[in-house]
């Protein structure tokens, strides 16, 4: 799953042991990126 | 957010008139009632859709 650091805007890969933290700037707020695949929505 | 596509009550498509209504009655200085009559939005259910709507897309669009 890919994330983006909300401060330095760089892509971040989260690993199981690293904790939630940007490896480049140490910021703890990460934003989840939208998946690249096609999303199907039912209009109901 | 954006103006609803249709009137909640009767289902008439009203969103296509909103931009003109906004330009003429809110930004401009025409009488809102006269503008709505002119646009053919005659029922009061449809008129309230236009009168009571505030466009918030521009307010939220910088955030993602």
């Amino acid at each position: 799953m890919s994330y983006k650091c909300s401060r330095c805007k760089r892509d971040v890969e989260l690993d199981e042991y690293g904790g939630v933290r940007c490896p480049y700037c140490g910021h703890r707020v990460l934003l989840k990126e939208r998946a690249r695949d096609i999303k199907e929505v039912d209009v109901k | 957010m954006m103006i609803p596509v249709r009137c909640f009550t009767c289902g008439k498509v009203i969103s296509e008139y909103y931009e003109e209504f906004d330009a003429r009655a809110r930004e401009g200085d025409e009488d809102p009632a006269a503008v709505l009559d002119d646009l053919g939005v005659t029922r009061h259910c449809c008129r309230r859709m236009m009168v009571s709507h505030t466009d918030l897309v521009d307010v939220v669009s910088p955030y993602q």
């Binding site: - | 954006m2 249709r6 897309v57």
Partner: protein, 249 residues
Amino acid sequence: MSAEFDVEFIERDDRSARFLVRGLTPAFANGIRRAMIADVPTLSIDTVRFIENSSVMFDEMIALRLGLIPLTTPLADYEIGETVTVALDVEGPATAYSGDLTTSDGLVEPADKNIPIIKLNQGQRLEFEADAVLDRGKEHAKHQGGVSVGYRHLQRVEVIGDRGEFDEEEPHILRGVIETEDGELVATDEFDNDLTNRYPGKEVSVTDVPGAFVFHVETDGSLSVEELVDRAAESIGDRAAELKDAVSV
């Protein structure tokens, strides 16, 4: 029930009409009204495949808006359940309008071209492919072709004398269409819905004309008024035939 209906148009436009039908029972008039709302099918976007949506609205919100956009429906070419592919690709800064939609069938297009779907800022993009399906208003209100479909009794107005000399002049509000003593049909908005404007100083009686109904039909643009009324009557006929078949076997 009488064998012949007598139909007279009072107002007639592309998308709205007012017409008088004589020789109807109230039950049949209501049957036609209901058929126009729930039984005449129209095309409407039903599933949306989002390829990219970086706008400020969620996919589901945009999908809901898309479903409400009326699409012109060539009823002769489609059966219920058949689909048409619709696509859109707009990049900001711009507003995505219903007119930007492209369809796989030239006869199917958005009935209104100026419906804003979503306003896009610099760098935002909306791209999707969708299936529009033909279905009935029964299934979902987005498939409803008729908007504000209704009927009223035709009212006959007769002058029965002069208003009393010391009577208070009160407004006499009526809606719909009236029939005068000479048999003329007058829409009530012609005299601002107030009978005292048309007959000042007169005492009038208002009675419902039995079996005469004034329909007001508006469509969302997916069908013409004629087609909507035609199909509604046809659907009642089809269902009656179906019942007849089922009973006679």
